[in-house]
Amino acid sequence: MSGAIVAIGGTEFTMRPENEALHDYVVGLAGGGPGAVPEPLRICLLPTASGDPHEQIVSFHGAMERRGCLASAISLFRLGVAPVDLAEHLLGQDVIYVTGGSMVNLLALWLEHRIDEIIRAAHERGIVLCGYSAGSMCWFEQGLSRGGGAPASFPGLGLIGGSNCVHYSQDPTRRDAYRRLVGEGAIPGGLALDDHAAALIREGELVEVVRSRETAAAYRVERGADGSVVEVEVPSRLLPPARATTELGLAEMRELRRARSGATAGPPGPGRLGRLR
């Protein structure tokens, strides 16, 4: 049986509750989380679409290690200093997590490094594939990318039939372009996801939509008989608050960080707030 795919409209690895809840969902789905499995869950980040930024890799490690996972990242731009057997490493994972960024670059680089073939093999072996933004659209037949400047359709790996649009309610230009292309029949209809809405797909079928923010939603966008666009909201489940933040509490977490950084207690100034991210 091929592995589950989690497509997320938009999130980050910063410690905001709506991000944290989605990470819990992904980790839980793959059988990880506190005391869930005898071995730590192996989760590998592919930050290709964003150009492998260091801060993103560091915050991913933080987010996943807080959940007891064995996190790693493959940086295609740093293979020279950190060589790795791509196939061996990726096929040894429980979850492969793909970041957002440029969908155009993501697929071009995967093709160049033959990661597309490895990903297909990973999917067939049952490894969970997941990602947000470009890392969501890449699993579908078509995505709506701004990677070439103006929003345009771009083919993904096609592990899931139909199209996908991310940041749906957050990026009106993208949403309009997506609706137009579906209406014209230029791309097949599909699934539109807001930031902090995630779709679980198994064997090409939508199993459920979850959201970590009250207002986030997912929509099925299809071409109507007369060429119009039919948009129907998909029922979604609000995720429970993230474990990490509920266990420790945000205020306590901030206090802990302040103590660790050696700063004296007091009202957080703009500089200190900046460093929290």
């Binding site: 679409a49 964003s50 150009g51 492998d52 930024p53 940086s75 295609l76 731009f77 293979l79 020279g80 060589p83 960024g101 440029s102 155009v104 670059n105 697929l107 071009a108 680089l109 093709l111 160049e112 490094h113 701004r146 990677g147 070439g148 400047g149």
Partner: protein, 269 residues
Amino acid sequence: MKEGDATVVRLPLEEDRQIVAYGGGGFSMEAGNRLLDAYVLDLARRRRERPRVCFLPTASGDADHYVVRFYRAFPGSVCEPSHISLFRRDRGARDLRAHMLAQDLVYVGGGSILSLLGTWRAHGLDAILAEAWRAGVILCGLSAGSLCWYSQGVTSFHGEVHQVRGLGLLPWSNCVHYGTGQDRRVAYHAMLRRGMCPGYAAEDGTALHFRGPKLISAIASRPQARAWCVGDRGEEIVETALPTRYLGEPQVPTRVSGGPVADDLEAVA
């Protein structure tokens, strides 16, 4: 027309097509040594008093720190700097082609050659750069940003040394960072034996200046740095040291004849 006469057809613009390929060096590798970058900037100044210089940090994944260092090395006081991030196309220049064709100098940063070429192709930048070169825009770069201009190249960025195909604006092969790590040299020789086209090897601190496909000058930012033309002569691999002009001292420019394996130059291997 009697025997021995030749018809000479001069190719238009050939002389205006310039590439300066660094073996390694410039602001990203030689902190405080401005010689190679000053050389390309001088070339660009012949096109425009305040030349337009565009940085392509693609091979590094558009690393922010690299972009910042470029703007420090090529400040607005001496040129009109810009950069293109192919990972953030929603910002920056709308029309990639128009922007590149309007430049005087395109500076390509180092990093992963495979990622560089793959990303360029995805955005059609490979064809745009070839067009810009034909139109007289000077192209330069180091490491991956040097290999990319040649037909073939030797890279060890991804661990093992292997062969890559470049854009082919220069009909030669290329090996950068020559002399650092013996396996690169051995691998290059083996590739030449297997039929790779002859070409140029450049050490860190050297740059090769081409007009059209012709090498016109080898320059250096370090007194001892060397560059070579390397070819398979059937019996053996021949490495010929190129007369290299150190940019740090005033000197009469040397001109180098023709392509690789120039017989009049000191043969070393």
